[in-house]
């Protein structure tokens, strides 16, 4: 509570500074963020789909309150983002979600240092930036943040490259001696088609190769794809059977029916190489997950009704009577207020 009060005081102080600074032609601070709440009901009577967030069964759950301040002043910029709530607790080692400083030497090169949302993957922590409220297995088992230093090269509007060294995934500090090496190649083959080839590796964190791409096909249809493979690292792993090893692909189709209403489908195939993620005791297993979501916008509020069904290759779920089952389904109704 003390931390929250301190943050609010700092925020108010920053706001007053903004007013003063604007008098001196400063660009001012940008404050943004979101709050989210949801209701979830898993038809088995218990929460059992093992992806991130929204874990409360048959109750009004809360996500997080997320506040970000940022500023770009000439060639320098910073972002400080802090969040509280179950979603925040499950996504970062502490309340800080982003804390970094950037400097653009010119139009070609910029350097960023600090703690940043990961460059890996399609989905993000903030519910305001995802179409679906529940998350994919690929997102849930990939990194959430990378703390470190990166250099971005912007060769043109169509080609960019990021190279960086990072702490272990999702950590404010480096938990061991080895640093992660990360890279992202951005390509825009045609206007509206964005392609990211991502790579991160170290002995301790393991290696993840990721492709994330979107194509805006006209004004109404967005097509997205995420494919990734991750192999285990040494950190917290004592024998060969432990550690995260997976391969997966997720496809997204979002269609805007009208200005305030859009519908979306996510299909994901996820293969757990050694059963660590899906809990199949060293046996490889896989799951196919289908998620249908709506986005209904009313000013700053987005209402997200959602139905999800997961079909696994083994009986990793259970039915309402407690019998083992290879499928699970749930509904979610979420409200996200973004500002």
């Amino acid at each position: 509570m003390k931390l929250i009060l301190t943050f609010i005081v700092l925020l108010l102080y920053a706001s007053s500074l903004t007013v003063l600074a604007q008098d001196e032609d400063s660009p001012g601070l940008t404050i943004s963020g979101s709050v989210d709440t949801y209701y979830k009901y898993d038809f088995s009577g218990q929460s059992q789909i093992g992806t991130s967030f929204a874990g409360a069964q048959n109750s009004i759950g809360i996500g997080m309150v997320d506040l970000a301040i940022s500023q770009t002043w000439g060639k320098a910029s910073f972002v400080g983002e802090i969040a509280f709530g179950p979603r925040a607790d499950a996504s970062a080692p502490g309340p800080v979600q982003n804390l970094y400083i950037s400097y653009a030497f010119n139009n070609l090169i910029s350097v960023t240092g600090g703690f940043m949302g990961t460059f890996i993957g399609y989905e993000v922590i903030s519910p305001a930036a995802n179409f679906n409220y529940s998350t994919s297995y690929l997102f849930s088992n990939g990194p959430f943040q990378n703390g470190g230093v990166k250099v971005d090269f912007t060769f043109s509007d169509r080609v960019g490259l990021m190279l960086g060294v990072f702490n272990n995934f999702d950590s404010y500090t480096n938990d061991d001696s080895g640093l992660d090496l990360g890279a992202q190649l951005y390509l825009m083959p045609v206007e509206g088609w964005d392609l990211y080839l991502n790579f991160v590796t170290s002995d301790d964190s393991g290696t993840e190769v990721d492709i994330t791409t979107t194509y805006q096909a006209g004004d109404r249809l967005l097509i997205g794809l995420n494919a990734a493979k991750r192999t285990r690292g040494n950190l917290f792993v004592e024998d060969e059977g432990e550690g995260i090893n997976f391969t997966g692909v997720a496809a997204y189709l979002n269609y805007s029916i009208s200005d305030p209403v859009a519908i979306g489908l996510r299909y994901e195939y996820f293969h757990d190489d050694n059963g660590v993620i899906l809990g199949t005791e060293s046996e490889s297993s896989n799951v196919n997950a289908l998620t249908f979501s709506g986005n209904i916008h009313a000013g700053p509020i987005t209402l997200i009704p959602e139905y999800r069904i997961d079909l696994a290759s083994m009986d990793i779920f259970s039915t309402n009577s407690g019998a083992a089952s290879s499928s699970a389904s749930q509904i979610v109704i979420a409200a996200v207020y973004a500002f």
């Binding site: 706001s15 903004t18 660009p27 001012g28 601070l29 940008t30 404050i31 943004s32 970000a68 940022s70 770009t72 000439g74 910029s77 972002v79 400080g80 983002e81 979600q97 982003n98 970094y100 653009a104 139009n107 940043m116 949302g117 990961t118 460059f119 993000v124 922590i125 903030s126 305001a128 930036a129 509007d157 825009m188 206007e191 509206g192 088609w193 964005d194 979107t214 805006q216 004004d219 967005l222 200005d259 000013g299 700053p300 973004a338 500002f339």
Partner: protein
């Protein structure tokens, strides 16, 4: 169809940009710089070209660029074939942009950015200017806590007008006008300065 901007004399009356700009706003049609460039003949002693990309929310860098351009005129030795300043011809290609903000935010939330490509051609103390592309890019708050393009898709301003509510569009339109006015005011001063240097 060729769309020509007024050819300015020494006074550099660049505010005449505004009328064609407003026309562009409602047509959303990319324009016509190629025809303008053809005005420069092969006999021109120099065609100096400078390309400057301006980051969103930073139109003041246009001013810096033009000042740099003007400083080159002060020192003709920097120009390769050392032509006389009176015969100097040059083109500044400027891409500039600025954010459009949503009113819903506590302070400001980026709704998107408007980018425009501008050519400023100088020849024998005359200035010809043109806006030849202008487009909107939709922004979203990204995983890094910053506002960044939702995708690389470029939209016309006509699309923006249709997709936003009337009051939002009016706010955006006023913002576009204000930013253009700021840019053009600074350009006007810089053109005056360039012409002063050229006349010496």
């Amino acid at each position: 169809m060729l769309f020509k901007y007024k050819i300015y004399e020494k006074t550099g009356y660049v505010r005449s940009f505004i009328l064609p700009f407003v026309i562009i706003l409602f047509t959303g049609v990319p324009l016509f710089a190629q025809d303008q460039v053809q005005i420069l003949s092969d006999e021109d002693p120099i065609v100096f070209s400078m390309h400057c990309e301006i980051q969103p929310d930073d139109p003041s860098r246009v001013w810096d660029t033009v000042k740099e351009f003007a400083s080159l005129l002060k020192y003709p030795g920097k120009i390769e074939n050392k032509a006389l300043i009176d015969d100097f011809s040059g083109t500044i290609k400027v891409q500039f942009g600025f954010y459009l903000y949503q009113k819903l935010s506590i302070m400001k939330q980026v709704d998107g950015a408007v980018f425009a490509d501008l050519d400023i051609i100088l020849r024998n103390n005359q200035v010809i200017s043109s806006i030849h592309t202008i487009y909107f890019i939709d922004y979203i708050r990204d995983r890094y806590g910053k506002f960044s393009p939702r995708s690389s898709k470029k939209y016309t301003l006509e699309y923006l007008r249709k997709k936003r509510k009337d009051d939002v569009w009016k706010e955006h339109f006023r913002s576009i006008e204000d930013n253009m006015d700021l840019l053009l005011t600074k350009l006007e001063k810089s053109v005056l300065k360039i012409n002063e240097v050229s006349a010496k």
